[in-house]
Point group: D2
Chain length 492, copies 4
């Protein structure tokens, strides 16, 4: 497909990638541009860069892929050694210009730029409160709410305290890169829901959603930004200051970043995503391995899982040993402009995207490995494809637990009605998909592989219990969470 993303996987969609850079005396625009390329998988709807040259802010934000949004001239006009960048995924409810980021505003004490990955759960309350104080908003996004709140706090406080005050008021998941004039900040929510990390390059420092962006700049990963931490990159790229502004009791890391979103070559919260996936694959064999003639990944999403699964199978002395094969070939050209086939051509369209290699399937028992099942439509088509190609049995093994509830933390997963596993047993799902057997990975395996307790993970989408107060949804009770809105502007 045009953007290389695995759309044959009926997967969830992550809303954003963020980056911030502060350098000695080189313009930040190009490093930001290459970083956004490295984060493109986190958002293909819009891209933007905001820089500051010490005197004024420069901004270029538009709809489209990074490569389409910027040309040489655009980069040349984005002056200044400090800047932030953003890529954004389409949200349900419409693509539109107004929500492209970074969001920038000017206010009493200067210019603010914000790039946000995540989702606030109390944005509406804050918006109402700010509107009561006379604020007017140009968009319906969370980011503008954060920007206004921060601008307001900056009237009375210094930068660090103003950020702290805003962090005490906003509730939900957020990894932010912020520019206050030419000062670049990185902020991660107290539960550390979305990833954010710090990197060092030759002549400066970087904060980015994923370490792969730092690799792209030939830099070194320093460490993850800690939940509740503010990182302030020094001007001139000489270092960074850390402020632990909120002390969380528990974290709520999103396990799905590891399963699906993040690049395999990124290190998130000390885990290399590729290794996590391989180990999840190994666990999958341990929990529900089945002897079949051949094991094949759904490309590209299931590849690392399948490799771990097959490896574990071959090390398992009780097993017969499995053949690992690439039996499904993916057409990387099927993209957004693709003309949908008519009803009777529907089946052809699936084979256009994913074509089974008959010789590796025909007359064989087959296990296919994928990372997750969201709506289940593609899984169903895959099973049919393999049966048409002559598979005797088709077993499906999934490297994550069943997704039974929506995500409110910034991932456009699907509504509860669309989730195939919401309110259905695994046997029901298996039946709909048409597989001979179906197994998901256990939640404990996830926690185990990530080296985290369940209490430190956000498991909302697989348990239906959330680490945040969400209207109409149960809370993850055994965990103490900070309450929303402890202090309001009225207190000041």
């Amino acid at each position: 497909m045009a953007d290389g993303r695995d759309y044959s996987h009926d997967g969830p969609t992550e809303k954003c990638g963020v980056v911030g850079v502060s350098l000695a005396d080189r313009n930040a625009a190009r490093p930001l541009y290459y970083s956004l390329y490295a984060l493109q998988h986190r958002g293909q709807e819009s891209a933007g860069i905001v820089t500051h040259d010490g005197f004024q802010q420069h901004s270029h934000v538009d709809m489209g892929l990074v490569g389409d949004v910027f040309d040489e001239d655009d980069l040349d006009q984005l002056n200044g050694p400090a800047g932030i960048g953003h890529v954004r995924y389409p949200t349900a409810g419409g693509v539109n210009n107004c929500c492209a980021q970074p969001f920038s505003v000017s206010f009493k004490s200067g210019a603010l730029g914000l790039a946000h990955n995540g989702n606030l759960v109390n944005a509406d309350e804050l918006r109402d409160e700010l509107e009561s104080l006379g604020h007017a908003f140009t968009s319906s996004g969370d980011t503008e709410v954060i920007a206004h709140d921060l601008a307001r706090n900056l009237l009375e406080e210094d930068l660090v305290r103003a950020v702290k005050r805003t962090m005490e008021r906003i509730h939900g998941s957020y990894s932010l890169t912020i520019m206050h004039d030419d000062m670049v900040l990185g902020v991660r929510d107290p539960q550390g829901n979305r990833p954010l990390c710090i990197g060092k390059v030759d002549d400066g420092y970087v904060v980015a959603s994923e370490s792969a962006a730092i690799d792209t700049l030939d830099g070194e990963l320093v460490r993850d930004v800690r939940p509740g931490e503010l990182v302030l990159l020094e001007k001139g790229g000489t270092g960074f200051d850390s402020y632990q502004l909120v002390e969380p009791d528990n974290t709520a890391h999103c396990f799905f970043e590891h399963v699906y979103f993040a690049r395999p070559d990124s290190i998130i919260d000390d885990n290399l995503v590729y290794e996590v996936r391989r180990n999840l694959g190994r666990k999958l064999w341990e929990e529900s391995g089945i002897d079949t003639d051949v094991v094949m990944p759904v490309p590209d999403s299931g590849r690392a899982f399948a490799s771990g699964y097959a490896e574990a199978a071959n090390e398992d002395e009780e097993a017969d040993g499995v053949e690992f094969a690439e039996g499904l070939m993916k057409n990387r050209y099927v993209g957004r402009t693709f003309i949908m086939p008519t009803q009777d051509e529907r089946e052809r369209a699936v084979r256009l995207k994913l074509n089974p290699i008959k010789s590796t399937v025909e007359g064989k028992t087959v296990t296919i490995i994928d990372d997750s099942i969201v709506r289940g439509t593609t899984s169903n088509q895959l099973v049919d494809l393999l049966r048409d190609a002559g598979a005797e049995e088709v077993h499906m093994r999934i490297g994550a637990p069943a997704i039974v509830a929506p995500c409110y933390m910034g991932i456009d997963m699907a509504s509860r009605e669309e989730l195939i596993a919401a309110g259905q047993s695994t046997e029901d799902v298996r039946d709909v998909i048409g597989a001979d057997s179906l197994s998901y990975l256990s939640i404990d395996a996830i926690a185990d592989v990530l080296g985290q307790s369940r209490a430190d993970l956000c498991l909302g989408c697989v348990t239906g219990e959330y680490p945040y107060d969400i209207d109409g949804e149960p809370t993850d009770r055994d965990v103490e969470r900070p309450t929303v809105g402890e202090r309001t502007l009225a207190d000041d």
Copy 2:
């Protein structure tokens, strides 16, 4: 040229056209679209429409000509019988997305949309004041300042009083169309600097920068909006309410609308622009008529002036009678994408835009009539062209006084350095241009033809004295003007 505008005239550029429509039960989008087409000459950089369907606001704003910005789908999505529209001219200092209008914000009591033609002289003070109260701005434009101020006032006052309070605070020239939810308003500044008029169509009412927009909708011009007046279009298109919110001592109508900007078929402040131009042409003959073999307009800007001038000449019993001829042919295809000629092809480029008809020029004495001279470069080229074509003498007559100072009221005229007549006598200008004689029209003739006293006109660009307090510029002393910022929010 591509947009039909007379770029061969090195003219000033008007910043905007505005329109507002409230209808019975038809969508406002198409009437707004056709109105913007009728106002396209007032702005070619961006176009936008905002409508409201009683429940929510719909907005479509983009860079480009009206015909390029909207397609059928866009119009279909702009639901609701009430709406406003805007076309915008490029300002000095860069074309950019953020300043396209209408500007829309949501705030405590609903949604606001604003379309602005004019220029505030105290925008910076107001912005500072609002920023002190915590407001954050996404653009550097006046319009956002007005929107924030109005939103703030609407927290405490009803719509009419809120507008009145904002009008007491903003200072400068403005014709505004405003939407507060599905209520459409038209507001004209107390000096009536920019035009704004009211029209009636079959099923509703319209406010627009020029009456030609009303003609386009097959409507009737009701009257001009009065200086300092707020016009509130009733929902359902049944009528309009008028509130004289500020009572001005004097007006400051822009005479240049009549000379250059407005369409000839518009009626502005009770004067048909075409007739004004013809009468200015007649005055021009009276004041500085000269007997030459042929009189020719600079197309298209000088045509009405030349027709009045020639008519007066032929009625003048002491004169020999002149031949009126179209001796300069304009190429309407030369547009924005035109590749500039190399240095030695420069002269050819002028003839590409404007070609003299040799037979009407050769061996003759020629008078060319234009509406105004700004930078003088085109005038110079014209004189050269005519001499090359064999003209024995070339006299230039201008239907407006010499422009000696910049405009601060919303017209991107040119800087003082660029104005050929700033600090130069008419004889100096004649010399630079290379004409055998040059005469401008007197200021008194302007006032006379418009039927206004000089004290009721804004003559800043031809006198250097302004009817508003502008940093570093003298005020037009003999006129009492309202003072800026009589009341501030702090008073409330």
Copy 3:
């Protein structure tokens, strides 16, 4: 409208403009580019330039306006001091890429480029004949037929004889610019139906459809290419050679070039188009002048006619004297991307394009002057508009005879069914249009003003009798015309 063309005039459409340039040591691309701009009114569908640098041919041809088809890089790549160019009008039956010109082919003795204005009447016979000899065609256009025929003849003859042989075989109207390698030729058909002229610039020679293209290059018109003449521009721009290859008995100049197509500032067959139009206007007064309060042109097409008409009226001692006024204002922005109004908005759309100035019309008797009536739809709308604006009487005077038959000579006039005057009396047409009176100009007046005998004009569209043998149409009998296809390739 976007391209400045008078589409409010329901006029015929000319198919093409051609140009050829040979210079000393400057690249021909830019002069060709500026020439095509000057000829843009002759075709807006596609534009193209082919040059030759002595070694190889360079070509850039694409759909769109000149300004859109070429950028700086395109011009820079079109190397060589010799070249030809073409602009093309959409033909009935579809816009398509394949017919954009110049058409270029390589063949045994080199490379050919052809740009064609006109229409062959025996293209199908020639195509069949060439196909019998094995030729395969990539387009359905005349130009490819001419190119193949010429290429074939060049196998056996020198350039001049090959052109002569082709001229003896092709029948119809054609003005061609041709490149054989870096040799530039201009050829005009034996009847001189389409215009073509020769010009001199500082460092070379030009052949072009209209002299305005030569003006644009700051050159001098040398003379028209004679009917049946081949002009061969010398390499190095040092001069040109003339070969009178066919000696015609009579010419068949298209009078409609003067009435409608050509630029007013072009000189065609020794007549300045602007003067022709003024004189036709004078004749119009003489033949059918009527005393009304005001005379107004349909802009822009009727302007020169109306000016002559009003002048004659005012010189006429028996007449009361008329007021000439611009009572109809044209919106130059209404272009191709215009969204068509719904049925009930139709009337508004007319006023969007052409708005009457009420004060010059209301309560008055009005004469409107236009150049021609083709389908009559706009004329009808105009009369309605003026009546709505309060005109007491509306009289229409047309500067050409009634168009009663289609054009087969390269103008996409309309089919016979669409022509309002085909098979209807002037009184019938007047009734349909709704005017109080309607008069056309006589054919004799046309011949008189052009200084030609009727036998030397192509009057097919106003008489229905053609100077060429056209299937199903009568021939203009009193004139001896050369017979088609006197010699065929089989003779050789």
Copy 4:
């Protein structure tokens, strides 16, 4: 990258993919469209479809990817149950419109459409010969030469004999799909250099470059078109007729299709490409396996080779067993619009495309597997990347022999100067690349895996001896080849 193609692999580029379809009573356009999607990897420069509805030909050809070239309307207008399609790769020497295919011409007996994959070695001679007979060419491509020759033969012969005559005259590699009116043909050159196969769908038959296109239509592969065979699809999709028009002594199948170009899921000349690559990987271990800590493919091109290599290694009882890992992560978004980094950012750009996973590399000995080395630049960068990531040793194993000579058979490989292995020993190449060891696969292994004798393969690029007579290159002497141009038109 944007198109999913492995540009990090400095690989050769295939010129084309072709397809032809004849159906019962469904339009062929959509099946052709989906087929071209399946063949998109064979050409991204242009795409085109030509159909015939029994009465007339319809064509849509443009520059760009399949998804960009066609929209719904385009497909809807391509009427008729028979058609052919083409995708094309940029050739050295410029992208241009004229060479996009299918190429279509009309001639005496109807309309011809041609889509060509391959390269003629005697195109210039044929072109000269045809030009001597008066033919004129619009492009410099081979395809137009074939079209003209075929059109010419069709004047005298029936379709099958005309194709035979043309096949006897053209020399080189070609897989053609041809339309003569609504008759669809597939032709493969006598040496079978380029692939072409026949498939059956529910309601018709297909010829296509690769069987994956047939899979996409949910069809069944019937068999390869035989070298020298003409396949004529019956109208109505009822079957196909076969004519063995030329009987070759030896074939000259391109082994590089298997190594690099073709999709892994295609079956070419009875071999499944995926299996071929796995088996080549196995041979590679046998010939030059080396014990290292980890074996990793260059994604995606080396994956199947590496999988076979690792499998063989693990089966090898004398070896220690290797870990197969995905240690290089590819960014699929880096595409054509990518802004090239400045000199000092060059290294970063490589990591943007291909990022090593440190943990799988650091402190380890590494073998990387790729399919081929052309220019060697990427290989060099890869070795550097791995060393930077801490690899102790980097060994490179290549699944094909060293490429030492250019391809004249339709692949834009590189010039001899650009080929790193041309004139250099493997040790030299290893030194330039900086690897600790480097081994290519033997030519015998290729022949062995493909089950062909060397005499039946085209090995020009790895031996420098070609199975065709190419100016300035040695012929593969031990093989008898048909001589070019045995009969000329002059014979007829």
